[in-house]
């Protein structure tokens, strides 16, 4: 079992496992950047997706690792340089103004996905929220 992290939005928590086998550099940098407490916004190009800015600690990750375009529900992905970390609650694909682009997988929710993703889905109607990301206690 890999290292685990906890997402929390409006008191609803979900546990996710880092995708260390797929993205060793990015997941290591993400782990070092925890805890994160920041604004969570709804995406405007990538579909049923929320995103946050994980902070300057991820700036050193300049390359993609095993890149993907589709963002599966409950999967956290990140752009190079840590500019954005995104999680889909439904149909998601990383896009911006000029089209589709690649991301690196960081983590996948393994506990309490359904209630947590329901909170993200409400953002389209309710607007931005605050997200906390912490290391799971072992």
């Amino acid at each position: 079992m890999g290292r685990r992290i906890v997402f929390e939005v409006e008191g609803v928590k979900a546990v996710a496992e880092l995708q260390e086998d797929l993205s060793p550099k990015a997941t290591a940098a993400f782990w070092d950047a925890l805890p994160i407490d920041t604004k969570l916004m709804h995406a405007k190009w990538s579909g049923e997706v929320s995103f946050f800015r994980p902070g300057p600690g991820l700036a050193k990750i300049t390359d993609l690792e095993n890149p993907v375009c589709s963002i599966y529900p409950g999967t956290l992905v990140m752009r190079p340089n840590g500019t954005e970390a995104l999680m889909a609650y439904g149909v998601g694909e990383y896009r911006w103004g000029i089209g589709t682009d690649y991301t690196t997988r960081i983590a996948r929710i393994v506990e309490n996905a359904k209630p947590f993703l329901a909170v993200l889905r409400r953002m389209h109607d309710e607007g931005e929220k605050q997200i906390k990301v912490t290391r799971a206690e072992t």
Binding site: M41, W45, G47, V49, E93, H124, D125, G127, E128
Partner: protein, 138 residues
């Protein structure tokens, strides 16, 4: 020339409808007025908000005066979904989860749009609003 008023949270703008280049689309919109419906931020199309109403849905209606990159202040209908799209600035392209789509450019907002555009943009951070569209009797 047909005109409408569009109001969100007490801020109203006037728009002229392009009967000559989009007669069927203007007819569909005109018959739907007055219309009060939810306004949400685009999830796939960038810097735009959209009003969604079943009265505006007509999957058989082919695009008229078609565009893909709406300018701020233009009124565009995606008849297949029953959505009017309002680009407010920055980058915007009409898209769905399946990719780029054509929308019917059927009107233009006139006058100062500063406060109106700010409310459209705010749907990303603050969530859904309510929009009302009325015909201007002339």
């Amino acid at each position: 020339m047909k005109q409408i008023t569009i109001e969100v949270e007490g801020v109203a703008v006037t728009a002229k409808l392009n009967d000559e280049v989009a007669p069927k689309v203007v007819g569909l919109v005109w018959r739907s007025l007055p219309l009060t419906a939810p306004l949400r931020h685009a999830r796939w199309s960038g810097s735009a908000a959209y009003l969604s109403a079943p009265e505006l849905r007509d999957p058989a209606l082919a695009p008229e005066n078609r565009v893909s990159f709406p300018r701020p202040g233009t009124l565009c209908l995606l008849a297949s979904e029953g959505e009017i799209m309002f680009a407010y600035g920055g980058e915007c392209q009409a898209r769905t989860r399946a990719g780029n789509v054509w929308v019917s450019h059927f009107g233009e907002i006139e006058g100062d749009t500063t406060r109106f555009f700010a409310l459209l943009a705010e749907t990303q951070s603050k969530g859904r609003k309510t929009m009302t569209i009325r015909s201007v009797e002339g």
